[in-house]
């Protein structure tokens, strides 16, 4: 693990209990990811990519393994996972997952509000982030149902960046977008890694994203393997 490495995943396994029996979604997965890099996990649907991402984001709990983010073991009982989700990681989802009753600006302000940031500071930073994402002007006060898929995803990326986390976890960020809009989103995420020094971990089944990736993994039946250039 180098100095720039922020994420270290070791032998993480996750099994779901269903009626038919146990299903291993992630089997002894290991990887490291660094700041300033885009790390991509590709693989077919149902291969366990999203589960691994959620385990890293502490939305799911693995049966075994070790996950360290900035040297902190997030599987340790003592770790404050709420604070971790609020400040250390930012999520970007395939279906945007914006709060439908809030405007674009309010959606971006929400994580800061939960973190106790003063309202004026929230407003200033949210506006700035949205401007950077190309969602400004009248769109600031638009609700998700009044915006396009691309605009929604850019609002979602702005929300992920609201509390300035070191790591962005993106789950199929282009899965619900047309090719051109998807490319714009990929460009934004790539820029966040390469220009803003964020660690971007993306899971997708779109292998074209591998072009912008600094490190790539392939996942199949829960098993993770690195793709060497």
């Amino acid at each position: 693990m180098t100095e720039r490495d922020i994420l270290s995943v070791k032998d993480v396994s996750k099994t779901f209990r269903v009626k038919a029996g146990d299903v291993t979604a992630v089997s002894a997965a290991s990887l490291t990811a660094s700041k300033g890099e885009v790390t991509t996990i590709v693989g077919p649907s149902g291969s366990g990519k999203t589960t691994l991402l959620y385990v890293i984001g502490s939305l799911e709990k693995p049966e075994s393994g070790e996950i360290k983010v900035s040297g902190q073991d997030i599987l340790d009982q003592a770790t404050d996972l709420v604070r971790y989700r609020r400040e250390d990681v930012g999520f970007v989802f395939q279906f945007f997952n914006l709060v439908p009753t809030l405007t674009a600006l309010e959606n971006v302000m929400l994580p800061m509000d939960l973190a106790g940031v003063p309202v004026e500071e929230q407003r200033r930073r949210a506006s700035e982030l949205l401007e950077n994402m190309g969602v400004g002007g009248r769109l600031l006060k638009a609700r998700p149902n009044k915006m396009s898929g691309g605009e929604n995803q850019r609002v979602a990326i702005a929300r992920a960046l609201a509390n300035d986390p070191d790591m962005i976890l993106a789950d199929e960020p282009t899965g619900n977008l047309d090719t051109a809009t998807g490319q714009t989103v990929i460009d934004i995420l790539s820029r966040l890694a390469h220009e803003n020094g964020k660690c971007v971990l993306m899971v997708t089944h779109d292998e074209s994203i591998l072009d912008v990736s600094d490190q790539s993994f392939h996942m199949s039946d829960g098993r993770l393997s690195e793709i060497h250039a």
């Binding site: 999203t50 589960t51 959620y54 984001g57 939305l59 799911e60 709420v82 604070r83 989700r85 609020r86 400040e87 999520f91 989802f93 395939q94 279906f95 997952n97 914006l98 709060v99 439908p100 009753t101 809030l102 309010e106 929400l110 994580p111 509000d113 939960l114 973190a115 106790g116 929300r159 509390n163 789950d171």
Partner: protein, 511 residues
């Protein structure tokens, strides 16, 4: 505070579904609050009624006992009765004259019960007053003459003659029921006092017309005969200290519905200290009844138990009669309305709880993704719960404020609707038994507190009770807050359970 703001914002932004819930809650809460208002009003009115009705009782010789004695006497022939009277010793004669009376000792002993607030002793009897003519008895005797004009039926009846008057004795003139009910009003002089009773002062209060007809005034005296006595000591000189007028008779006369001359013979009733009336009736130590006011109708059972204990061994001769039936006549419709309102309240509150519960299930299940997002971006369970709590409270608060306003409008109508429809009854007291007009003898279910037979007091109370006054009171507001807290807690039960158990990963991947 931020949770409050987020919750309030969410409440405003989700206005369509919140409005539907609010309308449903508003309907149920208006019904609940109206039922509550009716209950509170009925409780309040029943408590007020308890202050005036149902808290009166009197000890007297039971009507069953009197009837039994009467039947026994009836079976005897006139000759047997005369022979019996002639052979009586003085003690037997006295025992016979007090057979229909209550020992004063029993009356006094009962007054010491912890529930008794005030008490009085009463003796009403016919007394001969020399030089004064009872006009109504005179009329009666004239009516009893046969058509041929002989004097067969025109003579005295038993101990009564044209000079007989009705004497009402108690321990304090002002507390005589005719004066407390307002049937009679002192217009000149003063009432006799408890001291007059204690000192056996020979004073009397007479009627205005009688005084005018006989040119009597305050300070004049009349001569009354002691029952059964003869000789120089058989008269008591009574000093007139007060003059009264008969209020109700005048009112009825003005309305033209009743012939005053027939129903309210002027000047035939005297009011004197009990001790004086006892002397005139030659029944010292005995009263017709002990009259008691106690705290409330709720004490009746305890008092009856005490009475039963104190009269054990008298063979059921005495009875403790109360005005509980009057209380029931007035309070029962209110109590029925209250009971119905309690059932309605419980049902409506149950419906409120069900509405908010089902509404929150629908709302929360439709917003699981939002819950998942909030948790995924770093909301604590407490923050999410607070936000939903504010939303639920806002919904319930608006509904209850509107319901309180609506209650002020529909509460009275609800009260009228719930109050059992009863016929307007007037307390028609039974005709006096065993006495001529103007010489009223107590009997049947008449109670001393009701005053003379012209009293309209009881009927007016019954009419008052037929209206339930649903007024807006502060306690309703407090209950409203309690209901608000209650339904909000019920409404929060589902979101709390849902929020704590929700795993964001399960909902965020769903399309």
């Amino acid at each position: 505070m931020r949770s409050f703001q987020r919750g309030f914002r969410s409440f405003r932004r989700n206005y369509v579904r919140n409005l539907i819930v609010m309308v449903l809650l508003f309907v149920c809460l208006t019904f609940s609050m109206s039922m509550l208002a009716v209950k509170l009003a009925a409780d309040n009115q029943v408590e007020t009624i308890k202050q005036t009705v149902g808290n009166y009782g009197e000890i007297k010789v039971g009507s069953d006992y009197q009837m039994k004695q009467f039947q026994e006497e009836r079976q005897k022939s006139a000759a047997e009765r005369q022979a019996e009277a002639r052979s009586m010793t003085a003690e037997e004669e006295f025992a016979n004259s007090v057979a229909g009376l209550v020992p004063e000792k029993l009356s006094d002993k009962f007054s010491k019960d912890e529930y008794i607030r005030t008490y009085d002793k009463v003796l009403e009897t016919g007394v001969t007053v020399n030089g004064l003519t009872n006009t109504s008895l005179q009329q009666l005797f004239q009516l009893r003459r046969n058509p041929e004009g002989d004097e067969d039926g025109g003579g005295p009846m038993g101990n009564l003659n044209q000079n007989s008057f009705f004497f009402a004795g108690n321990t304090n003139g002002a507390s005589a029921s005719d004066f407390t009910t307002g049937a009679k009003k002192l217009v000149e002089g003063k009432h006799f006092t408890y001291e007059d009773y204690k000192n056996e002062n020979p004073v009397v209060i007479i009627e205005k017309n009688l005084a005018t007809d006989n040119e009597l005034g305050i300070g004049d005296t009349v001569e009354a005969q002691i029952a059964g006595a003869t000789g120089a000591d058989s008269y008591v000189e009574l000093k007139i200290i007060g003059i009264y007028e008969t209020v109700e008779a005048e009112q009825q006369s003005q309305s033209g519905s009743i012939d005053t001359a027939e129903f309210n013979p002027a000047g035939n009733k005297f009011y004197a200290p009990l001790s004086v009336v006892q002397e005139l009736n030659a029944t010292q130590g005995y009263v017709e009844l002990g009259s008691y006011y106690f705290d409330s109708v709720d004490d009746t059972a305890a008092l009856k138990a005490t009475f039963k204990k104190e009269t054990a061994g008298t063979g059921g001769k005495y009875e403790f009669a109360t005005d509980r039936s009057d209380y029931q006549a007035i309070a029962d419709p209110l109590l029925k309305a209250r009971n119905t309102s309690v059932i309605g309240l419980a049902g409506a509150l149950g419906a409120c709880a069900l509405i908010i519960l089902l509404a929150m299930i629908i709302i929360v299940s439709g917003r699981t993704r939002e819950l998942g997002i909030l948790k995924a971006i770093g909301s604590t369970d407490r923050q999410v719960i607070s936000q939903f709590a504010v939303e639920v409270i806002c919904v319930c608060l608006v509904a209850i404020i509107l319901a309180m306003g609506a209650t002020a409008v529909v509460g009275q109508s609800m009260g009228n609707w719930l109050l059992p429809k009863t016929k307007t009854t007037t307390s028609q007291q039974s005709e006096p038994q065993g006495g001529p007009p103007g010489m009223r003898m107590r009997g049947g279910d008449n109670l001393y507190k009701e005053g003379s037979r012209f009293s309209v007091n009881a009927s007016s109370q019954k009419q008052q009770a037929q209206k339930l006054n649903v007024v807006y009171r502060g306690s309703l507001f407090l209950y409203g807050i309690l209901i608000l807290v209650g339904i909000s807690l019920v409404g929060m039960a589902i979101p709390v359970f849902w929020i704590i158990r929700l795993r964001p990963a399960r909902v965020l991947s769903m399309e």
